[in-house]
Subunit: 299 residues, 2 copies
């Protein structure tokens, strides 16, 4: 009998699911993406993707990294559930129970952005010595995963760093904000849909010289300056759809330096901010490869 | 030969030094407080306080918890130094070198608010299961110490959570802010001196029904809501001189709930916020007893 060689990873997003069989980024055996529809259909497809690999004893374990909010407490009766999401049909959904029952291998569970942070930390050698490491996704929503003192942060629930309040200059930006809970929080001001609502066109269609990007960079920079003051991270990784605008990261780096105003006396901020605030080395695979890393750890 | 029974702790603040010999909060053998004058005189007095205990082999170790910014990297040539403080005479001062040389016992080093966080975590049984645990001091300055995943957070430099930017409603509060680096950051809006400058009288002389306290609670609550979103702490401890205003903590607790607007679905926020955001159980001894705990760990 051979030892299973591979791990299963799922990035379960609000828009799409990504499922992967791999040993790591250098050996990806299979990958599939499909839209997030009903929980039944979506989890059926997830199970169907892994089933042949499990049957052939090729998977040691699986990890599912889900959009949130989720229940991350292993001792809780709703561990592995999506909890209070406004996404229709997905509140109180058990994402891992059936896989556990059917497959008989360990099935780990995490929040999607935590998995992305863990993926970048695990698979990118340049990140191994970076602690704390913060992964932000700035896209349809805004969230952050945190590695601190060698482990992911869960705490009371899990970080929801997209919902911090920022200074909002109403004269420069009269847009009221888009968050149904907090109006002009970070996500309410700077998510993709917030940009779309403010400017009347989808963010990805705004040209590089549109004032939208300076404003967007200001809000992101403010949140990054705040996380630098709060947590003193050694690396901040900015992922998500909005960050695919190529000149945005440079704008953010410069504005963070201006906001901190030489207060944080570290060469990582003063001289090498382009190595401190970076795009994901794993690109759009950070989340699912993070799930692969979490599955590997769960064996 | 007997084993040394006690530990030495120093809380080195910008205004006063507190030195203690103890085994823990239940057995405090000796304690002295004196003003922070020149580094030479202040560190002489610190050494003189501990010298007889060291000579009689009663101290296993010492820890000094200093005001910052400090160098916390053990491999750095300036480990144990206060670095860029504006406090006259104290920039680039080695706080622990002479004690190490003279005493021949381990001398640990930390930032003052980190020591306070560690003290509350170590000595207060109700805090043992609280992770992350955040200790804020709100007084002459504002700062935070963080316990995350069982250890203090250092990172790039160390947290400087008093310098986060907050939403500042200029109509409600035209005060421009007091921070020489960031003007209206948290410390610039809500420290003791900021209150004094805004209202034209020392914070501690403002009566409980003065509007100053509602405004102060708003800023503190905003910073606490943000740290809850960022780090999902299981306990937040609010120390420092400003928090000695008895009704302030209750105002903060209520305003945090309003700001979060039921988004963080945890009973710790929704039902038991008075157990989640608390005053220091060790009172004004949190810092120096934290140093005692750090000394104990350094043996």
């Amino acid at each position: 009998m051979t030892q299973p060689k591979y791990f299963g990873g799922v990035e379960g997003g609000g828009t799409k699911f990504v499922c992967m069989v791999a040993s790591g980024p250098d050996e990806i055996v299979d990958e599939v993406r499909f839209p997030t529809t009903t929980p039944q259909e979506t989890l059926d497809r997830t199970i169907a993707f892994f089933e042949p690999y499990v049957r052939q004893d090729q998977l040691a374990s699986i990890a599912l990294a889900s959009f949130g909010p989720v229940d991350l407490h292993p001792e809780s009766p709703t561990y592995g559930f999506i909890t209070t999401t406004p996404k229709p049909g997905w509140a109180n959904v058990d994402t891992i129970g059936r896989m556990r029952q059917l497959f008989g291998i360990p099935v780990a569970f995490e929040m999607d952005v935590n998995a992305a942070a863990f993926g970048e930390y695990t698979w990118v050698p340049a990140n191994h010595a970076c602690d704390p490491l913060v992964y932000f996704t700035i896209g349809t929503g805004i969230g952050a995963g945190l590695m601190v003192n060698g482990q992911l942060v869960h705490g009371l629930v899990h970080p929801e760093a997209g919902h911090v309040r920022l200074a909002h200059d109403w004269q420069a930006d009269p847009f009221a904000g888009y968050c149904p809970y907090h109006q002009d929080c970070f996500e309410g001001l700077a998510s993709g849909p917030a940009m779309g609502a403010r400017w009347g066109q989808p963010a990805e269609t705004l040209p590089p010289d549109h004032p939208a990007w300076e404003l967007e960079a200001s809000y992101i920079a403010q949140a990054m300056a705040n996380i630098i003051c709060t947590l003193s991270p050694q690396r901040i990784i900015l992922g998500g759809g909005v960050m695919q605008q190529p000149h945005l990261i440079t704008l953010v780096q410069r504005k963070v330096q201006i906001l901190l105003n030489n207060y944080i006396q570290s060469p990582a901020i003063l001289e090498h901010i382009d190595e401190t605030i970076v795009l994901p080395a794993l690109g759009s695979h950070a989340g699912v490869l993070g799930a692969i890393a979490l599955a590997r750890r769960a064996v």
